[in-house]
Point group: C2
Chain length 401, copies 2
């Protein structure tokens, strides 16, 4: 077979498969009766051994009584305050170097999510594998935990890089025309730990195989979304030519993407064009693997949420995509004494139709809560709204090079 | 079929297909009896209508007699001076806006290569499609021309982005153990023209589908190269585990990559760390699509050669890969009056074994010639040599984020 046939075959396969059907046992995410879907992001818990693990970078008066249990208490309080529909843990969930046993540490770290009966999802950071389990085994342990929607990888994808690459669909409200259609798409990726390429120092990155999976999945979800009015039936005639029109860009469900290590593009901002703070450098990989471009090309990603840099908690918009940090959450993680640990909340809201009933998503908002007595909410902002989506930066042609 | 099965199938296909077999009619590139392979790069000819098309940016005294024919003459002289084994035209071969008929213009532009009976290859720039033919038809016309090894795309790859993505293998010297093995791999890609994504302004970029093809092809060529001592037989037992060892990185033939628009990484240099000149900004795409990272990961690319920025002609090394410009060649292209048009030559040399016979490649050198009375050679440098290939920048671990 010629080399290039692989590319042909690949695309033949991509365009000919239906959207993945959820296993019957898997809990389906859905917008609530008020037309809302709330996501709590918890990043960099750095959990180790619980009560015996001291806090880092807290005020002297906090230190004597501070441990991993403060992290646990903060998760509990955030859940009570926000009543999220989904909790997303964006890596460095445990701090492997100090965790005596990875399973015990994970069980304790995720316990508040499990006891709340709320669905949760997790991705890996760069420290999760530094205790007694490999990255694969850490993710396998997570996937087997109660109430999680985490997946090891797309089923049977033995050759995708990393562990914990998967997507979740959030269906429209009951008794609406979107009842069986994903109106909000969530993507979870493994951004790796450290470079394994000798000539490249530093942190890992999202590889080509993962980007290909993202591109395929995004394309199929868009195709499914466009099959109006009935949800997820076979593709309509002339679909591909329609897909090439700019209008098709708008006819897709918004996507949110979660992973651990920020992209190099996070370094594009300063305080004049972001909301939140930037108190340290952007610790992305030292190379750019192109995932930001892949997301912009996909045309439906509205925001990206990472962790890793505990002292940065901003959201900045670049080329139509909001690049957000969760902000440091864990007490056994480096931080800044006197600068409270924090978590990010995202709320997607459906459009209420004039005739009654519910439409597609009209806005995606975010804020953070800091771990003070009142869990004070800060930095509220609109990440995306239907009315702001029509901006068209036309391509400048006629360049003479 | 589940979404992820596509990824599995893709990899199954990749790992199970043999290296492409050349069509019997296709001329095979091979190192000469002196153990050398010479490539002449001609970039940005900007050919239009021949004698009636005036020059741009030449000295006042040159202007009255200067036309596209000066470009033709320069190609002829370069061929006579260097006697290359392959001529590579790296895009903007014609300047579509001013070419009355694209076919006529191309026939004239490539005529010196054809009349020399030397194999030649071409990729597209951002201006080649601006006359009477689409990008696809421009590439189809090129592919049908005499003595060219250009290909429209990997056979049957209807869904790879762009036109003119292909690779060529340069076999070892006759009567050596490399007689049937590619010891130098050449890759040619279509870097596009302009962005078609509304939110991204500016020039095009190398897409995921093209990078996937590059990754697959590079991997298969490496596997083939490693099948010692006989060339290109079935894979050896335990090959995959060997591939994971750092030594395997070295056991592959060097690769050279040609396309038109420079990568964002070309902006990494200043005069302290490159050879040549930088007289204008780097007009890459406004986004980074990750192809530089894909090449570094592949582990065998030694140098990249682009055009597009006529006033830049440097080579700079980043993470083990030399990023080179060809330098502006064409007289109907913007330039700088008094700064001569130029072309780049690359020579790969085989190692002469002590016992007699020839080994693998020992060095890759480059220089440019400027279009003065003596075709003066300038900026000679070693791009890569066997002895310099053992540098290992180990990954720094232990970071606490």
């Amino acid at each position: 077979m010629a080399i290039a046939n692989t590319v042909v075959l690949l695309y033949f396969i991509i365009f000919s498969v239906p959207v993945r059907v959820l296993a019957a046992s898997q809990q389906q995410l859905r917008f609530d009766g008020k037309g809302e879907f709330r996501i709590l992001q918890v990043s960099d818990m750095h959990y180790a051994d619980g009560k015996s693990t001291p806090c880092e970078d807290v005020l002297p008066q906090q230190f004597p009584t501070c441990s991993d249990l403060n992290t646990t208490a903060f998760v509990h309080r955030m859940i009570l305050a926000e009543k999220p529909h989904l909790i997303v843990f964006t890596g460095d969930n445990i701090f492997g170097f100090d965790a005596t046993d990875a399973e015990t540490s994970m069980n304790a770290a995720f316990a508040p999510a499990i006891s709340s009966n709320i669905p949760w999802a997790a991705v890996l950071g760069n420290h999760d594998q530094e205790s007694t389990l490999s990255r694969e085994d850490v993710m396998k342990h997570i996937v087997a935990m109660k109430h999680t929607l985490s997946q090891l990888n797309p089923p049977e994808a033995h050759f995708i890089d990393g562990f914990g690459n998967y997507n979740l669909e959030v269906l429209g409200i009951e008794n609406s025309s979107f009842v069986n259609k994903s109106v909000l798409n969530l993507y979870f990726l493994d951004s790796g730990d450290y470079s394994t390429v000798p000539s490249i120092p530093g942190y890992g990155w999202i590889k080509l195989s993962q980007q290909l999976w993202f591109q395929q999945t995004s394309m199929k979800l868009r195709r499914s979304y466009m099959n109006q009015p009935e949800a997820q039936k076979a593709s309509a005639p002339g679909l591909r030519s329609y897909m090439n029109q700019p209008e098709a860009q708008k006819a897709s469900a918004p996507g949110l993407v979660y992973f651990h290590i920020p992209l190099p593009e996070y370094a594009s901002f300063d305080s004049s064009n972001f909301t939140g703070v930037k108190q340290e450098g952007i610790s992305s990989a030292s190379v750019n693997s192109g995932f930001f471009t892949t997301m912009v090309e996909a045309g439906n990603v509205k925001a990206v949420f990472t962790g890793h840099d505990h002292l940065n908690d901003f959201c900045g918009e670049l080329t139509g995509i909001q690049l957000c940090y969760g902000g440091g959450f864990g007490y056994h993680a480096y931080g800044k004494a006197g600068w409270a640990r924090r978590a990010r909340v995202v709320v997607a809201s459906l459009e209420k139709m004039k005739k009654g009933g519910w439409g597609a998503i009209k806005s995606i908002k975010t804020w953070k809560r800091i771990d003070d007595d009142h869990l004070t909410a800060i930095d509220g902002q609109v990440l995306w709204s239907k009315s702001s989506a029509d901006v068209d930066n036309s391509v400048g042609l006629g360049m003479l090079k």
